[in-house]
Amino acid sequence: MLERTQVPPFEGTKEQEKQLLAMIAAHKDERGALMPILQKAQDIYGYLPIEVQTMISDETGISLEKVYGIVTFYSQFSLTPKGKYHISVCLGTACYVIGAGDIFEVIEKKLGIKGGECTPDGKFSLDGCRCIGACGLAPVLTINSDVHGRLTLDDIDPMLAQYE
């Protein structure tokens, strides 16, 4: 098996599936239907795991590889859900030069996931982002709507502990 992205188990509901199938049925005969179908599917589930992409492939007759190729081409689509707590580390220039890269890597190690992934228990997800306009607080990250600034590597453990 080739290296794959870690995802928590799929927890889609019957209700979501009903919504998805109805939406595909409404769009599937349109030209270029795949983009809008993918966007709406992501609205329904929050992300596009293999289970959702397979349903889209089966219903539209578009091969799963085509679907996956498009999902991985556009950065608007996500293969992983957002965790209960979504950590977004600023990798903008001001933050980067003052050590945001190290902070990002240490969080990756501590959580055992890579950027773009979510812990198997669904608790934390991690991403890098561009300048969030808080350069004065560099290096900075957000966890959901909380802003954590002027971070050092030693701050990471206590900070994460607040979200246990």
């Binding site: 098996m1 080739l2 794959r4 091969s63 679907v67 996956y68 190729g69």
Partner: protein, 588 residues
């Protein structure tokens, strides 16, 4: 058709309206290098090695997709163009595992020869950034090594457009782009039909068949093993290309001589297995047509790529598939039963090797219900491609061109013209008709040629009046073509009785295991037609042209397969079963 006039390198050229610059240059005898371009399959203008200068245009244009227009002035080989092409190639090279010396494609790699022709310098400027890709060996028939991939996308285009399978494609974007399957699955976890068409069109060694050369040579060297070999009809039509013969040269005799000198204990012919297939398949068809036993229409089952396609994409139609094993498997089954008995050898000590124009045959050899001599004794142990045979011939040091013409050995080396034409699209239907008419009308056909089912069209039709019935026949090859007919059958709107389906367009002569031709050759030569002609020429020269006249086949039924075609014994040894599968089945 309306013509336009343009100037290429100062020389006036006339070309049909609608031509690309590349087409027009070809007409003028001017070669423009191409890499991603593959006529009708991959016309995406992505690689930019075909750039040319057009007077008045601001940028260089890609000749493979840019239309030629009246009055246009084109330059194809200025120092600036050569420099630009070299840059493009050097960039590709910087991300390439360029160990040519140990590479299977060295010598017939389109990327390598282009780098050489243009004088690209391999100074390793960008070595630091080379991504390392894991090699995918999960599929039974091929290996993907993306470290040698130049992202031309010919493979993904042929898989999608010709085969309607599309299990490979470009994933991610920019520097991270790789060709692969969904969710980083190995190809072996997808509904790939193993046809190997992607391997055929790949310009580099990023795709190659899963090789078994060393295993076969080891078996030959093992004194306790008795190794029998069967080359398929199409192998003799193309093997010569590997040794410098023109496309369409018959090398049957030299091939037999080579196999003997490699050291096989018995040198036989898959055409014998094909004759046997006709005996069984025509009887099965008679039962369905006349006795009403079994579903109609009946599909042929000798192409494992097609069988997989049916199982995955049209599972509701698997009962329409003939239960006959393919010629490769029938041969192997007979080798380990009848032949083992005749020669007094324990079937466990027989190693059965096939040489095939096909990669799907590697998968077929490992399918369930393909072990006539008992569990754990597969009908075929190793299936290798025409290309692997050529490599083996070179490895053991044979001077192929100077070999004598020899014959196949007795018992399973005998074949009729009907068995030979199996390798071309339409050949199975034609061979079946020759025997079917004899069986149903109890008289022999004088004119055995059925021209309506010959040729390289994707769909062919014929109606034959036999035993008071109009039997409607369809012949199709390449899964995108077949799909049109299959949709009719599924919808109940088809009135065909017998449908020949082959996985690869044109039949086995253009299978995924045949010698590589570069895109330029494919674009301008009827490779399939030239190879198929070899088979029809052999057919005319064979002593017998109908399978049921093959003396060795008659003897096989008299001595061993008692009860004749379709009886219990034959059924046990020569027939198989199928399984309903899904398109996306990895979630189950």
């Amino acid at each position: 058709m309306e013509n336009i006039k343009l100037k290429i390198n100062g020389i006036e050229v006339s070309a049909p309206k609608g031509s690309t610059i590349l087409d027009a240059a070809h007409l003028a005898g001017v070669k423009i290098p191409t890499l991603c371009y593959f006529k009708e399959i991959n016309e995406i203008g992505a690689c930019r090695v075909c750039v040319v200068e057009v007077k008045g245009a601001r940028n260089l244009v890609a000749a493979c997709v840019h239309p030629a227009t009246d009055g246009m002035e084109v330059l194809t080989a200025t120092p600036q163009l050569i420099k630009s092409r070299k840059k493009t190639l050097e960039l590709m090279l910087s991300a390439h595992d360029r160990r040519c010396l140990e590479c299977v494609r060295s010598g017939n790699c389109e990327f390598q020869s282009m780098c050489q022709e243009l004088g690209v310098e391999d100074s390793g400027f960008y070595d630091g950034d080379r991504p390392i890709h894991e090699i995918d060996t999960t599929a039974p028939h091929l290996i993907r090594d993306n470290n040698k991939c130049i992202l031309c996308r010919r493979c993904t285009s042929i898989c999608e457009q010709r085969q309607h399978v599309a299990v490979i494609g470009p994933n991610n974007r920019g520097f991270d782009t790789v060709i692969g399957s969904p969710f980083e699955m190995g190809l072996g976890d997808t509904s790939c039909i193993h046809c190997g068409q992607c391997v055929s069109v790949c310009p580099t060694a990023a795709l190659q068949e899963k090789p078994y050369i060393d295993e076969v040579l080891a078996a030959i060297a093992d004194p306790t093993k008795y190794v029998v070999v069967q080359p398929a009809p199409s192998v003799r039509t193309a093997l010569g290309e590997e040794f410098g013969y023109p496309i369409g040269t018959d090398v049957e005799g030299k091939m037999a001589a080579a196999l003997r000198r490699i050291g096989f204990d018995g040198v036989y012919d898959t055409c014998f297995g094909a004759d046997l297939t006709i005996m069984e398949e025509s009887e099965e068809f008679r039962k369905r047509l006349i006795d009403g036993v079994g579903k109609m229409p009946m599909f042929t089952s000798c192409s494992p790529g097609w069988v997989s396609f049916c199982e995955h994409y049209y599972p509701e139609l698997i009962e329409n598939l003939s239960s006959c094993k393919s010629p490769q498997q029938m041969f192997g089954a007979v080798a380990k039963t009848y032949y083992a008995t005749e020669k007094k050898i324990d079937p466990k000590d027989i190693v059965s090797v096939s040489i095939m124009p096909c990669t799907a045959k590697k998968y077929e050899a490992g399918r369930d219900d393909q072990s006539a001599a008992g569990p754990g004794i597969p009908d075929v142990d190793y299936s290798i491609t025409t290309r692997e045979l050529a490599r083996m011939i070179r490895k053991v040091g044979l001077d192929f061109r100077n070999l004598p013409d020899e014959k196949f050995d007795d018992i399973m080396g005998d074949s009729t013209g009907a068995g030979v034409i199996f390798g071309a699209s339409g050949g199975v239907a034609e061979a079946a008709l020759r025997t079917l008419v004899a069986r149903l009308e109890n008289k022999e056909l004088k004119d055995v040629d059925f021209h309506a089912v010959r040729g390289m069209d994707g769909i062919k039709e014929a109606t034959i009046h036999v035993a008071g019935k109009d039997v409607k026949i369809a012949v199709t090859s390449g899964m995108t073509n077949a799909k049109k007919i299959l949709d009719q059958v599924r919808a109940g709107t088809s009135d065909y009785d017998f449908i020949e389906v082959m996985g690869c367009w044109g039949g086995c002569v253009a299978g995924g295991g045949q010698p590589h031709c570069d895109a330029e050759t494919w674009n301008h030569t009827d490779v399939r037609g030239l190879r198929a002609k070899v088979l029809y020429d052999i057919d005319v020269k064979r002593e017998y042209r109908k399978s049921h006249k093959n003396p060795s086949i008659i003897k096989l039924y008299d001595d061993y397969l008692v009860g004749g075609p379709g009886a219990d014994k034959a059924h046990h040894i020569l027939h198989t079963s199928y399984k309903k599968r899904k398109v996306n089945e990895f979630l189950d």
